[in-house]
């Protein structure tokens, strides 16, 4: 087990270095002077800052030396400086990371829970109207643009019904503490997390339904029926457990895409996470910050994948032995 984790960590480290190298070459491939690219929109930064950047990243040295300087900086958690926001990029990202983690984790749990429950329900009623209703809904969610779903949710639940806040992380100026603050944040979390999870809910629902139906055709299920076990027990112990394996695999792979989707959701809801930060970086052409967020979100994806890989070994004992 330890060996496995170490090997996976090594692999993740290689991918991270590859992403950094990609970042580095992107800065150089961009049209214009790399120093100006790093500083933000050409002409906006002052000459002194650009000269400082040139010195810091050794921009007059050979390309490989520059790459080494860049990688060394990142190892010391130095992702550069955001000239636009007047703050180190790493500080900016880490101050926004908790909000994104809260949002993506909640969306992940909501989508996996509702998706599998709906999938199991549909598979138990194949061909009936409830199956048709659930499957049609999944088909619609699957085709809905994430950001549009978010906007329509704001329009309906926040503007029209005035049930839920459609903006921000907590009530501004209320200065709640303790449990009231938690509840307040929770209220603000409902719309962004649900709309972010919608697409993934559809994916898990379809997968669960197909997988449940496939497993229920297998021989061991027939044996269980022949033994006279109660259908509810067969459904739960025999079919569901086995049907969930491919869903867990898929969920682990898809979790990373949640981070990308967060850029859209956080933009719509003014959620103060790294997705919103990426949007701000785009609007201000702050490339250093943009690449920093890209790197950190990739690292998050790698972490997600690693965790699911390890979890998977606990869920499926067959893999642990092999």
């Amino acid at each position: 087990m330890l060996r496995f984790i170490l090997m996976r960590l090594g692999k993740a480290a290689i991918i991270l270095v590859a992403i950094l190298t990609l970042n580095f070459f992107l800065i150089h491939a961009a049209p214009g002077d790399p120093a100006a690219v790093m500083a933000g929109e050409a002409g906006a930064a002052d000459a002194k800052f650009i000269a400082q950047l040139r010195e810091q990243f050794g921009l007059d040295k050979p390309l490989l030396t520059q790459l080494a300087i860049y990688l060394k900086g990142v190892l010391q958690l130095d992702l550069g400086y955001s000239y636009r926001q007047q703050m180190p990029v790493a500080d900016l990202i880490f101050s926004r990371l908790p909000a994104t983690l809260l949002l993506t984790m909640t969306a992940f749990v909501i989508s996996l829970l509702l998706g599998t429950v709906a999938g199991v329900l549909a598979s138990a009623r194949v061909g009936k109207w409830s199956d048709t209703a659930i499957s049609t809904l999944a088909l619609l969610f699957y085709a809905t643009p994430l950001y549009w779903a978010a906007l329509m949710a704001v329009l309906l639940f926040s503007v029209y019904f005035n049930w839920l806040p459609g903006f921000g992380y907590e009530t501004v100026g209320a200065n709640y503490t303790g449990l009231r603050r938690v509840l307040d944040i929770g209220q603000h979390l409902i719309l962004p997390a649900t709309t972010l999870g919608l697409f993934f809910m559809a994916v898990y629902m379809r997968m669960t339904r197909a997988s449940m139906l496939e497993v229920s055709q297998l021989d061991f299920v027939k044996t269980a029926r022949a033994k006279g076990l109660k259908p509810s027990i067969i459904q739960r112990r025999h079919i569901f457990r086995n049907a969930m394996l491919p869903v867990v695999t898929l969920a682990g792979l898809q979790a990373g895409q949640l981070v990308g989707g967060a850029v859209l959701t956080e933009t719509v809801f003014a959620w103060p996470g790294i997705g919103r930060l990426m949007f701000e970086a785009l609007a201000q052409r702050d490339y250093n910050l943009l690449l920093g967020v890209f790197f950190v979100s990739s690292a998050m994806v790698l972490l997600f994948n690693l965790i699911t890989d390890i979890l998977y070994r606990f869920v499926d004992p067959r893999i642990r032995v092999a």
């Binding site: 961009a30 085709a143 950001y147 490339y287 890209f294 990739s298």
Partner: protein, 279 residues
């Protein structure tokens, strides 16, 4: 062919999807005839509500531009980007998958690690970075979408080629002295075409969603009216003018839905043995 159509049309959803897509294609092709004026032009007062003037049935936006004309021209961008970026992704993914599957060994290892890298990186974030750095234009958008969407193609083709490679007819071709290139192009790849077509139809749908998301964030081609741009521009005025973000969203939803339905129908028609499994 008649057989193919029979199996395809047995899937009711697929027929509905095809009808929807034909409508979208017609609107895109006929846009310049239906709406001779540029969709960027101011034609009426701003924020004209929908269904209030016959000439502008879906109202006007914050700058007095005709919403329905924007939708028609937006269809062009969506279909163009969806189609071209999918073709580009196939051109990257098929050779990589075919080489990895056919030659195996270190070539397979290296190419699959490369593919894995692109699968691990969050694709939407990578697309944003690529378009932002190379400046938003229809070319950079298409390139970025192709770069983030080829890995599933490579994996699919590799798997297919791997299983075809050990067939007797391929071994016969090797013995007859055909070069590897000829065997891949003439003997192996033609037999992988069905699953590729199914995957490609679904990729067009994903590409349309990706393009609209990029445009929504302000990364669209500044010279082309697109559905995502329309929603992005309407985001801040959603409380005053719901229709500005509502209609383009419906257009995206229906187009993507149509392509997904067609994909399922193609799957039924082209892979009859797999069809109806789990249904």
């Amino acid at each position: 062919m008649a057989d193919f159509w029979n199996r395809f049309s047995r899937n009711r959803g697929a027929v509905i999807g095809l009808a929807l897509l034909v409508i979208v294609i017609l609107v895109a092709v006929l846009a310049p005839l239906l709406f001779p004026q540029s969709p960027w032009r101011m034609v009426q007062r701003p924020f004209l509500a929908p269904f209030s003037m016959d000439q502008y049935p879906l109202g006007t936006d914050a700058l007095g531009r005709d919403v329905i004309s924007g939708l028609a021209y937006g269809a062009q961008v969506s279909l163009l980007v969806g189609l071209v970026s999918t073709v580009a992704a196939l051109l990257i993914g098929i050779p990589i998958g075919a080489l990895a599957g056919y030659f195996g060994g270190w070539m397979d290892d290296a190419l699959m690690r490369f593919t894995e890298f692109f699968q691990t990186v969050p694709s939407f974030a990578l697309a944003i970075v690529l378009v932002a750095i190379f400046e938003p234009s229809i070319q950079s958008i298409i390139a970025a979408i192709a770069i983030v969407s080829w890995p599933p193609v490579a994996r699919l083709v590799r798997g297919e080629v791997l299983s075809l490679r050990s067939r007797e007819y391929v071994e016969a071709a090797i013995l007859s002295g055909q070069t590897s290139l000829t065997i891949i192009l003439r003997q192996v790849l033609p037999n992988t075409i069905s699953p590729i077509i199914v995957l490609a139809s679904l990729m067009v749908a994903t590409a349309i969603l990706l393009e609209s998301s990029l445009s929504f964030l302000g990364l669209g081609d500044p010279n082309m009216m697109s559905w995502g741009y329309m929603i992005g521009a309407a985001r801040t005025v959603i409380r005053q003018a719901w229709w500005l973000s509502f209609f383009p969203g419906v257009a995206i939803l229906l187009t993507v839905l149509a392509l997904n339905l067609i994909g399922e129908g193609l799957n039924d028609a082209l892979n009859p043995r797999l069809a109806r499994r789990g249904k």
